[in-house]
Each structure stands twice: as structure tokens, then as C-alpha cells.
């Protein structure tokens, strides 16, 4: 996967001129991991990412509240001291667990913050790929019902 990815990045630079000429954009050339995003369980996603269930790592920190006031917007951040080149956020109880995947070229910090939707209270997994190996951290985020509900 990693090797593939590097080649893809090279590819992208080759197409750089075409992109700047407006013929294609570089984003078109990126690989979107359909199998992983359409996986319906954690195991299916892990498999599509080319890993068994990753080991837990103390070097990964999930920055997120314990309780989300609204499941439509749940802030989730990952930071790690590992030399990561890929990060991913998974929500166990979402219909499709993989929420987002990030590619970290050299020179970019192994951290990201984004906002995701959660259908219900669930474990959230932060996956980090470093030296070709996926590891992870887990945190439960409670999603509460809010407002008058009408």
C-alpha cells in the first residue's frame, strides 16, 4: 500500500503540468479506497487497509470530547509521536465505520483534526500507519440527544 501510494504521488507530479493546464486535477489522480470506505464492519475496513486488527499503541492520542452535544458534528483529532505517513478515523457503530483517511507526506506533522458524524454512542478508533504497520488507539464518545427533539 505504502509503495503504491508513493508511486501514486510520483504519478501526480508527472501529471502536474496537465493539472496546472486544467486538463486534470491532481485530486482526480488520488486513489480513494472504495473497499475500505464501503466496509460495513471494523474487520472489513481493517482488511481493506491491508491489516489484521491493529495493536493498541500508547503513542497515539485521540483528541475528542467524551460527550458530543450533537452527533452531526463530532470533533476528532489524532496526534502521534510515531513517524506516521497515514492516519484513519473509524467509528465502530456507524453503518460504514471508516470516516476518513489522511496521507502525511514527509515534512507534514503526524496530526489532523476534523469533524465527523456519529449515528450513536460508539467507540472511535484512531489508526496510524508508521513503518508499514498499522497501530491504533480507542476512545468511546457518547452522543447525546439534544434540544426539544420536536
Amino acid at each position: 500500500m505504502n509503495q503504491q501510494r508513493r508511486e501514486l504521488l510520483k504519478y501526480t507530479t508527472v501529471f502536474g503540468l496537465m493539472a496546472s493546464a486544467g486538463l486534470i486535477t491532481s485530486v482526480q489522480a488520488e486513489e480513494w479506497n472504495k473497499a475500505a470506505f464501503e466496509g460495513k464492519s471494523l474487520d472489513e475496513v481493517f482488511k481493506a487497509l491491508g491489516t489484521n486488527t491493529p495493536d493498541k499503541s500508547g503513542a497515539i492520542v485521540i483528541n475528542a470530547p467524551d460527550i458530543a452535544e450533537n452527533g452531526a458534528v463530532v470533533p476528532v483529532g489524532i496526534t502521534t509521536t510515531l513517524k506516521a505517513n497515514q492516519l484513519a478515523i473509524l467509528v465502530e457503530k456507524n453503518p460504514s465505520p471508516l470516516a476518513a483517511e489522511f496521507y502525511i507526506p514527509a515534512g507534514t506533522e503526524p496530526m489532523v483534526t476534523t469533524r465527523i458524524k456519529m449515528a450513536q454512542t460508539s467507540n472511535v478508533y484512531a489508526l496510524v500507519k508508521a513503518d508499514g504497520k498499522w497501530t491504533m488507539a480507542v476512545k468511546e464518545i457518547k452522543v447525546t440527544l439534544g434540544g426539544c427533539g420536536g
Binding site: P65, I67, E69, A72, V73, P75, G147
Partner: protein, 275 residues
């Protein structure tokens, strides 16, 4: 000294611990930590308020010639002179001599769009929420209120019509009706109240009104939409189980006037970011 732990509190503690065991760790201990975690949630989403996207769109709408008269809104007078946006929202609603009535931001923008651009006021009022002319209105409101961020709320009641609008708004605030007997005051008339986990500002006090009035309009996370005060009040009345409040009506201006005057001295934190 013997009575350092009175029996009642021992019993309470016992029941509490028992409760912990029975319901598997979910307990009254949440009260404080829940509030802390909700605060953390709000702080995390505050960085990167999608209202900014509406504000950018609003700046475009403001400058772009439109309507039958193909004019922009750059000469619109929001109370501080033609084209002055900076701080304008912090002093609204107010009395406007040209229309001889008290107007809030949205009602005034309707006036500008109809007089300067020739757009039918009724068409704006009738446009469905978040669509067409209302979409333009949302963007304009985001643009204008952002220019009052951190300004002191300073709404006048010197003009008799301003005073009257305040009194009418106050009466509407306490008006109970519908199948659930709700008024605005049912939920916003005392301190320290919540619906579910959402704090309810007491809009009858200065502090509460400053917190409530001062943080709307806002981007609403639950709907993924920017809500003007008109839309905020529309949904209040929906939840109150009232009929549909008419956009730009004297009623909505009066309610706004009541909140804004109560909030005087507070700070505009607009646009806000809400659950």
C-alpha cells in the same frame, strides 16, 4: 467530632455506590463531568465556525448589483448611515424615520432590498427557508453581524415607538398558548435551567439576554445551517407548538427588541456556533 459523617449522607453515599453498581457505572457523578465534557465539545467546534462561509457569500451579495433596479446594497442604511456596516447590528432594532417604524436587521434588509434594488418585499417574506432570496438574506445577515463582533450591545428606547416595541415584545414574551401552554418565558424566564443538556438563558435578565441575544445569529451544528434571528425565533415558535410566525413581522421585531434592550451593555459574539 463523632458526627463528622452524618447518617443521611452515609446513606446517600451508600445508595450512590449501590446505584453505581446496579446501573453499571452510569450515575449521578456525571453531573459535573458531563458539563465539563460538553464545554470541551463546544470549545473544540468553536475553532472553525462555518458561519464564515456564509459571511463570505454575504459580502458578495452586498456588493453585487441585483433586482429590477440592478443596484447593489452598498447604500443601504442600517442605522449608522448609508453603507455603514461596522457596528450596525449591535444597535438594532431601532426606529427608522423613513419607514416610520422600528426595524430589526432582517426587516431593515428587506426595506433596502425593496427600495434600492426593487425586489418585492413580499417575495422575500414568502421565500422558503434557506432558499432563493432567503438564502441571500442569510448570507447578508452573516456578513453584517460579523461586522459587529465584539461590539457593545447598545439599543435605544428613546423614541416612543422604540419604547412601545419593547413593551409589545415583553408582552409577547409572556404570551402563553398552544396545546402545550408554552410561552417564551416557560423556558427562558428563570436562571440555571436546561432542556436536555442545553442551557437556557434567562432572557428576562441582562446577563441571560446578553448571552442569548448576543450569540445569535449562529451556525447551527444540528441542522448544518446558518440561522438568522428570524429563523431562530421561527423555530422557537415551532417548538412552542404555535402557528407560523411571519417573517419580517412586527411581532418578531418586538420580541427581538425585548431581548436586545435587556441585553444592553453585553457584547455581540456574532456569528455564534450552536449545537
Amino acid at each position: 467530632m463523632k458526627q463528622r459523617f452524618p447518617k443521611a449522607s452515609m446513606r446517600k453515599t451508600f445508595r450512590f455506590v449501590l446505584g453505581l453498581i446496579i446501573i453499571g457505572g452510569v450515575s449521578a457523578a456525571y453531573a459535573q463531568s458531563t458539563a465539563d465534557e460538553i464545554a470541551k465539545y463546544r470549545q473544540m467546534i468553536a475553532d472553525g465556525n462555518p458561519s464564515e462561509l456564509y459571511e463570505d457569500a454575504g459580502a458578495e451579495v452586498w456588493k453585487k448589483p441585483a433586482g429590477p433596479k440592478n443596484a447593489s446594497l452598498e447604500k443601504c442604511n442600517l442605522g449608522l448611515g448609508p453603507g455603514v456596516i461596522q457596528g450596525a447590528a449591535a444597535q438594532l432594532p431601532k426606529y427608522f424615520p423613513d419607514t416610520n417604524r422600528v426595524q430589526d436587521l432582517e426587516s431593515r434588509l428587506i426595506t433596502c432590498m425593496s427600495t434600492l434594488q426593487g425586489i418585492s418585499a413580499q417575495e422575500i417574506i414568502d421565500a422558503p427557508i434557506q432558499k432563493g432570496l432567503k438564502k441571500d438574506m442569510d448570507a447578508l445577515v452573516a456578513y453584517v453581524v460579523t461586522a459587529s463582533k465584539d461590539q457593545k450591545i447598545k439599543v435605544s428606547v428613546r423614541h416612543p415607538k422604540e419604547k412601545e416595541a419593547y413593551e409589545l415584545g415583553k408582552r409577547a414574551f409572556y404570551y402563553e398558548g398552544g396545546p402545550m401552554d408554552f410561552s417564551c418565558a416557560t423556558c427562558h424566564g428563570s436562571d440555571g435551567k436546561r432542556i436536555r443538556l442545553q442551557d437556557l438563558p434567562n432572557l428576562t435578565t441582562q446577563a441571560g439576554a446578553a448571552a442569548g441575544w448576543g450569540s445569535w445569529p449562529a451556525y447551527r451544528v444540528s441542522s448544518g445551517q446558518f440561522w438568522t434571528m428570524g429563523l431562530r425565533l421561527n423555530d422557537c415558535y415551532r417548538q412552542q407548538r404555535f402557528p407560523y410566525p411571519i417573517y419580517g413581522s412586527e411581532l418578531l421585531t418586538a420580541i427581538s427588541m425585548y431581548m436586545a434592550v435587556n441585553a444592553n451593555g453585553g457584547t455581540m459574539q456574532t456569528p455564534g456556533l450552536k449545537r
